[in-house]
Amino acid sequence: MASNKICIVVVSGTRERLQMAGMMASVGAVSGNDVTVFLSMNALNQFLKDPPKQVPSEGDMGTLLAEKNVPPFRQLFQQAAELGEAKIHPCSMAMDVMAVEPADLVSYLGQPLGLTKFLIDAADAQVWSF
């Protein structure tokens, strides 16, 4: 398959954005693209092993997503990593601010990544932000 480099920055903790980012990551990765995901700000706590019980919605779509049998966004990110070999990195700054360690995060995440390295990687990639 033709390959593109795709970098996805996820900073929102709302259901709609996490869902869309997970869809892009998973479908992008299983379609032969080289996908890197950078999780920061409000997105990161959804990837704790013990995540918040509630995922806030931005609007009606978020409520619908929660009610319908859509693939859960965490499952989509996991499939991106496991089926498509996407690299999903927590932001090292967000981890420092939240005082979390790699062991506190779901196992399919890669090593913490700083913005400098991410920007170097993203220089020749499509960049999507959520």
Binding site: M1, A2, M23, S26, V27, V30, S31, G32, K68, N69, V70, P71, L76, Q79, L83
Partner: protein, 76 residues
């Protein structure tokens, strides 16, 4: 001997049926056929697109009472 594997993804939404198919394709043998059952209209167009890009083969795609039956052969 090629097998036929049925993936019942009815009730799921995009990209659920596609991801379930890809997960099963990974462990299938070349020549095996996989039939996805999906009630999601988007998946009925997305799955053939992915299959063409990935170099596998669509054997059959039909709708029956709101359920798409998409049969795929693993080619490599």
């Amino acid at each position: 001997m090629a097998e036929k594997i049925v993936i019942d993804a009815r009730g799921s939404f995009c990209p659920g049926p596609l991801m379930e198919l890809i997960a099963k394709l990974k462990s299938a043998q070349v020549g095996d056929e996989l039939e996805v059952l999906s009630s999601d209209k988007g998946s009925a167009t997305d799955i053939p697109e992915w299959i063409a890009k990935a170099g596998h083969q669509i054997v059959e795609s039909r709708e029956e009472r709101g359920i798409w039956h998409i049969t795929v052969r693993k080619m490599k």
